[in-house]
């Protein structure tokens, strides 16, 4: 796997974000549901936006006060689909409940068709300083197959609008490997994307998620994305983006130096993040938990005055160490040494991974050197058992807590 010349973040720089406090806010509303999407979204429910926002505000008020936030991420759904005044109320509530740290990163996801000059300015003045566009492709045939409601021209206009409104930090998501896409059209997409000089680009391979209309089509015989083609396209992205000065710092994420998404860096450094909204996931105090996925059920629960948590996973001791590798190994900088790393390198499976060039130890850190095979590493990591003596050590820790 080739790597770009762009400077990667050092291990120390990425690990530092374990200290961050972050928050995620889910805005589930979309104008229509794209056939490949399996997020917690609703379309045609705009009449409930007000009630939903009230519920999110109530959830913030219910959550324990915390420290000032280093990053905030409004994802969806399509946050840009709702009136920026609503988003502003939520952001203000977060700022007064937890505080916003100096220089914090505040991201809003946006779809190109929603991003006129006025909306851009309103969002900027509401306090957002980073915008992430669901651009997906510059090939209109691909956009149509993906059920998107914008065309390539809209992407260019919306990015210009973002810049004029004052956004200094702009990102776009691209999807590759849609069966109607060809190598040339993907190359053209990459070239047009970098020509707009975004600070950050995410490239995701189209995935057929169970339960989506795309999944039904594929089962009925529609062409499925081909993994080898997707590997080719990934390598094209690696090359074109690298040449344009965008370095890959995670499996699917590239940025100009210093423009890495701080919110994501926090998640991958095993830092803590609060979360609000239906289906939102948080990691606080060694517990990963998530909210009720269905929006109506979420609102009902909040209106009954109960926190809407629907599941949790304790991530401590050995599980915590496994979790650290699990999230951290998606980063190009990999993870620092530790008992989990020793355990992995000590297993037969770890040996096979290393022998096959999938993992390596570079500058003392464990790194996935073939990012397209990350799941092979992850399955192995999830299978690790603690070294002898680990249990006793953990019990001692607990006693001294």
């Amino acid at each position: 796997m080739m790597t770009s010349d762009v400077r990667h973040l050092s291990g120390a720089e990425v690990d530092r974000h374990v200290e961050d406090a972050a928050a995620y806010v889910h805005i589930p509303f979309c104008s229509a549901v794209c056939p490949y999407c399996d997020f917690a979204v609703v379309a045609g429910a705009d009449d409930r936006i007000g009630r939903y926002v009230d519920a999110v505000l109530a959830e913030i008020a219910m959550s324990p006060r915390w420290r000032p936030l280093d990053s905030v991420y409004f994802g969806g759904g399509t946050p840009s689909h709702v009136d920026p005044a609503h988003l502003r109320r939520i952001l203000d509530a977060l700022a007064s409940h937890h505080g916003l740290a100096n220089g914090s990163e505040v991201t809003v996801e946006a779809n190109p068709e929603d991003f006129g000059p006025q909306r851009a300015s309103e969002l900027f003045s509401a306090g957002f300083n980073r915008v992430s566009f669901g651009a997906q492709s510059f090939d209109d045939a691909v956009l149509a197959r993906l059920g998107r409601r914008h065309d390539a021209g809209d992407i260019e206009v919306s990015l210009a609008n973002a810049r004029s409104a004052g956004f200094q930090n702009a990102s776009m998501d691209l999807i590759f490997g849609t069966p109607v896409e060809r190598n040339e059209s993907w190359m053209a997409t990459l070239r047009r994307a970098v020509a707009l000089e975004p600070d950050h680009i995410s490239c995701y391979a189209l995935t057929v998620e169970p339960g989506t209309p795309l999944h039904r089509d594929v089962k009925a015989g529609a062409p499925a994305p081909d993994p080898d083609t997707q590997a080719d396209r990934y390598e094209m992205a690696e090359r074109i983006l690298g040449e344009a000065g965008l370095g890959r710092y995670e499996v699917s994420n590239w940025s100009r130096p210093g423009r890495e998404c701080r919110y994501n860096l926090t998640v991958w450094a095993q830092g803590e993040y609060e979360a609000y909204g239906n289906g939102a996931h948080r990691f606080v105090d060694g517990v990963r938990s998530h909210n009720i996925r269905r929006m109506d059920a979420y609102i009902d629960r909040i209106e009954q005055g109960v926190r809407p948590i629907s599941g949790s996973e304790l991530v401590r001791g050995w599980d915590g160490e496994i979790d650290r590798l699990f999230v951290g190994l998606r980063r190009s900088a990999g993870v620092r040494p530790g008992p989990g790393v020793d355990a992995l390198l000590g297993t037969r499976g770890g040996g096979v991974l290393r022998h096959a060039g999938v993992i390596d130890v570079l500058e003392g850190r464990l790194v996935v050197t073939r990012p397209l095979l990350t799941d092979e590493v992850h399955r192995q990591v999830l299978d690790l058992s603690p070294p002898q003596g680990w249990v006793e050590a953990l019990e001692r820790d607990n006693l001294s807590d």
Binding site: R282, V327, V352, P371
Partner: protein, 602 residues
């Protein structure tokens, strides 16, 4: 207490699917043995596997009470037998407990290979054979033609052949009369010391070993101290009874009767099917003839998927042997599959059934390796070794000739298909023998063919070349020297013992190409290219490659949803645990079974 003159012991024998179990249904109904509400089709086929496949695997015995027209009561002990060639051992065992046999022939299909084979077994055993044409209700039925075929085989006159429909019940009454009139009653001596034949057994979790017995002389009374003449063991008769078909305890089984015996013995290796029971207080001088040990035809390695189940597999085999006397095994070690057993089977269906029974009845998860016949190898020092597993074949330096088992195959076919059959047999290295006409349209062909050629796909090929009309029976014949070689399969440069096979040199290339091609389709892409080679000695004869996979990553770790991703990958990981690691290559279990698959491509 039953007077021997009122007892009739008989088996129903036939080619597969000619309606034995259905006739048993009618006999059970007619004699009121089963309540109408408990009745279902082939009621004696009790095993799940039998019901799923619609075939009889185990012989089943049942005692019926029949009131004749003159008011006299008769006890009928009926044994329903399987028709498939792999289970002919079950037929021989059953015949030894009877004085007569109903030879059923399908009115449309006519005489088939197992009709002949089973008829000969019954005649050799000295039984009264009553020929019966079944399925006369079929539109395609041609009972006159079939009657001629039958009389050509076993003699007699066509008019005497009973015609019935086991489905509608037509003619079954008359058949019952024939049974009473023609089958001789047992002729054992009630006054002599007890001699009873153990003709079957099974293991019951609560009651231990249950034996099925046929009392020949004397009487078997509950409470007796019994001696098993072959093993020398003595046990009390804790319970004796009859199967109606529900088990019903009785005080005594008289000479000529058939029933069951429970001694309370739990150690399965202490009871042997074929043994003779006698009274320990006044033992008989001479045991009954017993059974010839059946000879396994094919051998395959059975390995537990989970290495910890090795002991459980051994116990399961021991318990199953009680119910299937043809099972034999020895421990085997495979580098690829760990510890297991090399098990001998009577044929491929038998092998499949045993594996399924082990998995279902004993909750095991097994991998079976490609079946092999037993070869004889002459060593350079003149000694002779029997090789049941290709991995045991000594290297060429230390051995001389290899010889392989042949069978004598009998094929019955409409005369139109003689040409295609001869071609097939030649391709399978067979040697033509006699050809005789059963009727102007039906021919019996006699061949000598290597067992290894017949045992795997021959039957399917025969059926497809004759539109299903030909049938086949075979029995072991002599060993013959042949130009045989061992083909090894290498994954990533390492030989995988479980894939090795001994084949004729002329077929080695075909075998190699077929196996490497199949494996390429079965082995999932790994993190590196996996070469698959077939080789004889050091010489590679064919090669395929499973290209390295390039992408295996979930694109997005969305919005901090780490938990869901972990769950998904944990599930995938569990799936992978069902694979065997061969060196650093993950091989799915199906790959080991691949060589078993019926060939349409050879």
């Amino acid at each position: 207490m039953t007077n021997q003159a009122r007892i009739r012991n008989f088996s129903i024998i036939a080619h597969i699917d000619h309606g034995k179990s259905t006739l048993a249904d009618r006999l059970l109904e007619l004699t009121g043995a089963v309540d109408a509400r408990d009745m279902r089709e082939q009621v004696l086929d009790t095993m799940d596997l039998e019901r799923e496949r619609g075939i009889t695997i185990k012989a089943q015995t049942v005692r019926l009470t029949h009131r004749a027209e003159d008011g006299e009561e008769f006890v009928l002990n009926l044994i329903d037998t399987p028709g498939h060639v792999d289970f002919s051992y079950e037929v021989s065992r059953s015949l030894a407990a009877c004085e007569g046999a109903l030879l059923l022939v399908d009115a449309a299909q006519g005489v088939q290979a197992q009709t002949l084979a089973n008829a000969y077994l019954a005649v050799e055993a000295g039984l009264e054979v009553i020929p019966v044409i079944n399925k006369i209700d079929l539109i395609a039925a041609d009972p006159d033609r079939v009657a001629t075929e039958i009389t050509n085989v076993i003699g007699g006159s066509a008019e005497e052949v009973v015609r019935i429909s086991a489905k509608t019940g037509e003619g079954v009454d008359a058949l019952l009369r024939r049974v009473v009139d023609l089958i001789p009653p047992p002729s054992g001596d009630p006054q002599s010391p007890l001699r009873a034949l153990v003709f079957d057994s099974y293991y019951d979790a609560y009651r231990g070993v249950v034996c099925y017995v046929r009392v020949v002389d004397g009487r078997l009374r509950s409470g007796f101290k019994l001696e098993f003449m072959a093993t020398g063991e003595t046990h009390d008769a804790a319970e004796v009874g009859v199967l109606t078909p529900a088990a019903k305890p009785v005080n005594v089984l008289e000479a000529g009767e058939v029933g069951y015996l429970i001694t309370g013995v739990k150690e399965i290796d202490r009871i042997k099917v074929g043994d003779t029971l006698t009274d320990a207080a006044s033992p008989a001088l001479q045991a009954l003839a017993g059974y010839a040990e059946p000879k396994p035809m094919v051998f395959s390695g059975l390995f537990p998927t989970d290495g910890d189940d090795f002991e459980r597999l051994r116990e399961a085999l021991e318990k199953l042997r009680l119910n299937d006397g043809s099972l034999m095994w020895e421990p085997e070690t495979s580098r690829a599959l760990g510890f297991g057993f090399r098990v001998g089977f009577l044929g491929l269906l038998h092998m499949e059934i045993v594996r399924e029974r082990l998995e279902r009845e004993y909750d095991l998860d097994l991998v079976a390796t490609a079946p092999s016949v037993a070869y004889r190898v002459t060593m350079t020092d003149g000694s002779i070794r029997e090789i049941k597993s290709p991995q045991d074949l000594p290297d060429p330096g230390s051995r001389g000739d290899i010889s392989e088992p042949y069978v004598r195959a009998m094929i019955l076919t409409p005369s139109d298909y003689v040409g295609p059959i001869m071609e097939l047999v030649t391709a399978k290295r067979g040697e033509m023998g006699n050809m005789s006409y059963l009727s102007p349209e039906r021919v019996e062909l006699d061949y000598r063919i290597p067992l290894s050629e017949i045992v795997f796909d021959f039957f399917d090929l025969l059926k497809s070349r004759t539109k299903g009309y030909a049938s086949l029976d075979y029995e072991p014949d002599e060993y013959r020297t042949a130009d045989l070689v061992k083909v090894d399969i290498l994954l990533n440069g390492q030989p995988v013992d479980a894939f090795s096979a001994i084949v004729h040199r002329d077929k080695a290339n075909d075998y190699g190409t077929k196996m490497t091609g199949r494996l390429r389709g079965l082995i999932p892409r790994q993190m590196f290219d996996v070469p698959i080679q077939a080789a004889i000695g050091g010489r590679v004869i064919s090669r395929e490659t499973v290209k390295a996979k390039r992408k295996d990553v979930i694109a997005k770790c969305y919005g901090g949803d780490v938990t869901r991703k972990k769950k998904l990958l944990t599930k995938q990981k569990e799936g992978k645990k069902r694979m065997k690691m061969v060196g650093s290559v993950e091989v799915p279990q199906e790959a080991f079974v691949a060589a078993l698959r019926v060939d349409d491509d050879l």
